[in-house]
Structure formats: C-alpha cells, structure tokens
Symmetry: C2
Subunit: 300 residues, 2 copies
C-alpha cells in the first residue's frame, strides 16, 4: 500500500488502501462516523479506527480526503476555490495528526458567487471523470441528497447549481402528511413518468401536485408505490425544468450509483438527451488519485 | 348555553359554549388532543374533559363539530361532498356517545375528483364567510399548514386546490440542511419580497433557490431572519404562481389568523389584488352556527 483514499461526507466515511500504480483498491473499509457527528478532535481517531492496521511504522502514509471533512465544521477547513476553475486547481489543506504515521491532505470544494452555490466532494468526482475522459465538454449531473449540475468546458468547471431534490423527497415522504400515502419502497414507471411530465412542462404545478398525492390516495386508493414514484417524478421534473439551461442540447454525463442515477437517466432520455453514466465511487477514487499525483513527490 | 361549537383538527381541539341568539361565545376552552393522536374511543373523553362541566343533566346539548374529527381515522366518518356544492350542503354525520347529555353532529368535508383534492374544516369557514357576505362571488384563500384556494360562485364552492406551503416551510426549516441557516423567528420584508418575486415570475427556480439559502449563508453570512423570510417568500411565490388562475383579476378574501394571513396579503397586494381579510376562528364559529341552524329544530 502506498497511499490511502478517503471519501468523508456528512453521514459516512469510506477509505481505500491504494497502490501507486494500480487503480484497483487493495482493501476498503467504511463506517458511519460522518462529519455531521464529529467534533474536530474526533476525526483522527475515526480515521485510525479504519486504517490503523494498514499503516507502517517505518514511514508516513499519504492520506487524500475529499468531502465535508474539509468544511468549517470539519477536520481542517479547506477553503473553497471559486469557479470558473479546474476542479482540483486549489492547493489542498493539511490536517495535523498526533499519529506520525499519517500525512493528511484535504481537497477544497468549489464555490460560485452568483448565484450563490457550493460543493464539497463532487469536484473530486468531476476531476475523476476528467481524468477518464480528458476531452469531455458538456454537463455533468451528480444525483444525490443535494443533486449538482456542473457545466464543464476546457477542463474547467464553468458554473454549477445545486438542487435539494433527494433531501426534499426524504422530508416530504417521511415528515409530512404524505407519509401516510407514500410507500417506503416500490416503484411504478408510469407514475414516475406522469409526475415528471407535469413539472417538467409546468413547473409551477409542483406546489399543488404534492397534496394531490394525498388526496388521490384518500379518494381513489392510489397505491403507495405509485405515489412514491410519482413524488420522485414531480421533484426530478421540477429539477430538470430548472436545470434546462444546463442539459438542453448538451452532452450529459451522470455520475452516481446505479440506484440514484436510474430515474435521471430515464428522465433525460425521455427529453431526447443521451446521457452516459459512470459510477460515483469509481469517480471519487479516480479524482482522489489525481489529487494524490500532485503531492506524491513531496512525501519523504 | 344552548349548544357547543367544536373545531377539531389534526393537532388541536377548540370548543365554545354558545347561546342560540348570540354570536359571542359564552365560554371557550382548548386542548392539544387533536385527531392525530386519538383512537376512536378517545374522542368522547377528550371532548368531555373540556365541556363536561358545561352540560346539563336535564337535556341533550347539541354539539356541532368540524375538521379532521370527521375523517376516516376520526370519531365518525362524515363522507366528503363533491364540488360543485354549497359548503354545508351534505347531511352531517352523527357520532354516538355513551354520555346521554351529548348529541353530536360532524360536518362533512368537500372533495374534488379532478384534480384530486379534499378539505375538512375549511368548508365551515367558507360557509361562515358566506353567512356574513351572502353575495360574495370570487376566490377565498385560506393560508395554513395546507393552504386552500377556493373559487366560490352563486353560493357554491366551484373548485379548489390545496398547497402544502405551511408544512413545506416547517419541514425545510426544521428537517433539512437549511435548519443551519434559517432562523426560528425574525423577519425581513426585503428578503420576503425578493423570494416572492423570483418564484412568482419563474416558478421553476424554486428547486435551485432553496439550496442557495444555505450557500448564501456559507459564503456571505446571510442572516437567519433574512433566510427565513426569503424561504417564506419563495414558497408563497410558488403557491401564488400555481394559484394564479384563482386570484388573477378576481375578488379575493383571505380567511386566517393575522400571522398566517400577513404574508399572503403582502404578496397579493404586490400583484395588484386588493384582498379583504377576515379572522379564521370567527369564520369557523359562524359556519358552525350555520350548521347548527339546520338541525336545531330536531333537538328535543
């Protein structure tokens, strides 16, 4: 093992043991000790819990981390770089450790002044995608709790926008009156398409269509799986309507897990877009490697 | 005391002791024993806790109730009447009681088949408003957890739509990443107006503007009160954009509390509408009295 790759988000921590010349991780581990539940002094022990056994006493092991670990409430703040910017243009922050076997770098996120927007973690996935397809010029969609759309050109992130679609879905389905009508699993392709069409063509209807999910259930006994797919369609349709300047007539790449990407691929294809999909974890790893390459010669 | 008026919603119970010939309540009481936390057998004791001392052993006291108490999960289901309909056209449901001093009626809600929609409680407020202004022809806006817009003509509710604006505000402000940036109190008129203008003219921007509340805070330190007012403006703007066919060029009455009505009045006035406002509790009472008038001659 030559270095350690770390994806440290709000709610989870993933680590991979990496060899210098090999893209396939030697080992991996994860825990639920995300940034959201840690104070500054908790980060080093949380990392050592997973990687302590991988370390050598003979030398320092480089650790490259991305995600919310670099936020103000994180381990060590890695200030945002302003777009337009290459995704990894800014110098990484260092986190100091008590354990001398570690040498930790944290990748800065990106910020946009107007409209105000920020990302942490996705810039690393974008860098990973660029490492794989250096000539890509177009739009990258990263579905998730906070979905991102980024316009990428000539190696730079030109602009981006964030949509709270995943978090909206969760809070509507779990914490509002819709919880009585929206199932926690199951799917219905027609329900999804209908919801999508409504808000993509008439985005103002989102506000009234939400309660209709409840009313349809009360009056017609609409199934919970249909309501779940329809809610997803309504929210993704609203996102696509707002993000239209991004994807219309563009080359689009979707970076994410199979599950989170599937509805976006369906929706984009229905609009005549032919998106490519790549795996989110793989892009994180590729991006972390690209960041490692910039510092590996500084390691004793 | 001749009868008892009851407004029994999901989260609270309010009761008033009424004289036959007087609109001013003799007494009132309230508790937090809303429909949401009660099983069928809990309703009678919950009511008796508040009104037991008001009852006479010599005769039955009529009780007229509106709200979620008439839902399928309520005390006794009062099936919806379909619009177009006068708000109190359908026969009230009876709830049986062990206590022979009570004689309980429950007002049915209204339903709309397409688009699917339902109301329970607001039909009583609309009836109260009609009792006060019998010639009103126009649109009634009832702000709240689930805001309603109803088109009223020739004494009938012709159509209506529900918007989850209040519940969306609460779930976004309390249960998403916005909780770090949106204050629990405070207000900023400029923030409200800016949010309102964005979504009223470009409703598709709601999806991206939500996360901007968080990003603006991180990048520019926008205050929590400004973010709170702006979030309210964004959501009410989206509601007004969707409800435009209701209010545009119409006489509009807003029925609600002073606090819940204020942002709607501001927003409608900014659009050149001159709404009148009446108090929500007062309209509930007037509507309950109108319902009482239809049955009082049947009471021994």
């Amino acid at each position: 093992m030559d270095w350690i790759a770390v994806d440290w988000g709000t709610s989870r921590l993933r680590v991979w043991a990496m060899a210098d010349q090999n893209d396939v991780p030697l080992k991996e581990a994860r825990s639920d000790r995300g940034m959201g539940q840690l104070t500054r002094d908790d980060f080093e022990p949380a990392l050592l819990d997973l990687v302590g056994d991988w370390l050598s006493d003979q030398r320092q092991t480089p650790v490259i981390a991305c995600g919310m670990v670099g936020s103000r409430q994180g381990w060590s703040e890695a200030p945002y770089a302003a777009v337009p910017s290459e995704p990894l243009a800014a110098a990484m922050a260092r986190a100091t450790t008590k354990d001398q076997r570690l040498r930790v770098w944290i990748i800065p996120g990106l910020k946009q002044t107007s409209p105000a927007d920020v990302m942490r973690g996705e810039e690393t996935q974008i860098a990973g995608f660029q490492a794989m397809t250096p000539d890509f010029d177009g739009v990258i969609c990263l579905p998730g709790t906070h979905s991102k759309w980024a316009h990428v050109s000539a190696g730079e992130v030109v602009s981006f926008r964030t949509f709270m679609t995943g978090e909206l879905f969760a809070c509507l389905a779990d914490a509002t009156v819709l919880r009585h009508s929206v199932a926690t699993s199951g799917w219905d392709e027609t329900g999804f398409s209908e919801g999508l069409d409504i808000t993509l063509s008439r985005p103002e209807r989102l506000a009234s269509e939400l309660f209709s999910l409840r009313a349809s259930d009360l009056l017609e006994g609409t199934g919970g799986a249909v309501a779940r797919a329809r809610l997803s369609g309504l929210l993704i349709g609203a996102e696509l309507a707002a993000a239209k300047p991004y994807w219309l007539g563009q080359s689009v790449a979707v970076i994410g897990s199979e599950a989170s990407s599937a509805p976006y691929l369906t929706a984009l294809r229905a609009q005549g877009v032919a998106p490519i999909r790549v795996d989110g974890s793989e892009m994180s790893l590729r991006g972390l490697r690209a960041a490692f390459e910039t510092v590996k010669d500084t390691v004793p």
